[in-house]
Subunit: 155 residues, 2 copies
Amino acid sequence: MTSLDAIDIRLLEALQKDAKQSIKQLAELVNLSVTPVHERIKKMENSGLIKEYVAVIDPDLLGKTLVAYCQVTLVRHKEDQFQEFEAYMNTLDEVMEVSYVAGNYDFLIKVLLKDMDEFQYFILHKLSKLEVISNIQSSFVIKSFKNNSAIKIRK
Amino acid sequence: MTSLDAIDIRLLEALQKDAKQSIKQLAELVNLSVTPVHERIKKMENSGLIKEYVAVIDPDLLGKTLVAYCQVTLVRHKEDQFQEFEAYMNTLDEVMEVSYVAGNYDFLIKVLLKDMDEFQYFILHKLSKLEVISNIQSSFVIKSFKNNSAIKIRK
DNA sequence: ACTGAAAAGAGCGCACT
DNA sequence: AGTGCGCTCTTTTCAGT
């Protein structure tokens, strides 16, 4: 892990908000010429700190307005059941996030769907197909704030 | 909402994986010349379907290895308490996501931190400052899969 | 580690089919 | 809606401080 100075941090914060800014713009932001800014960014890309650049799509405009969090509990806690669960989750497009957690349940999954009909279908015909699942508790998102992916970088 | 054809969908899927691809590359992908690809992308940007382009940073390389989900319940359900809660969440950098949900609790928040010490500090000195909170139940992420932001686009 | 300039490449508009 | 060309801006490399 390469150490970051104040300029790197400002660049990262800027790129997390808008990755399409030109190096020239970024250079003006940090009061440098383009070359060092270019080098700094390339270094952070190569180290893996900047993992990727992605387009963010508005799910609402695709008709995907229902977000649900499902707390899933498995019947017993055996290694291959976890792998089976994980593998199956990877085949489901509507499943956006899967976290294996320590707490009152085993997995927290975030699901993005069109509506309640799709949700019902998802639960009854997709999730419930797994016999390793003993319990599912769902919460529906009414409103969400702060869906930003930007990580605050402190020294 | 403008309707999407198969080419738009392929472009969106490609841009969700890697926003730094050149239009030339994308044009080859969909077997078109650069101009229509450029027009299609601009149209999707202007309609708001493509909301933004962002750099994705690896939290592990910044030492942020602890992800927690906190289920927060408020004391009573009054409008201004929700706004107070929302406003305060917006001031906290470690809070990545806030969802107001229908279920057994009121809010699900996702928190990104360095370690358990930071978590303890977060709960005791930041979250608990809000008197409107009556209960917090936390689950810690041991392992997470599918942390991709890519939305599956079907017709 | 930075500046400045120069070559290579991408974005973007235009005339046309 | 599509192709192909041309101008402009950006990225990327290189010599020099």
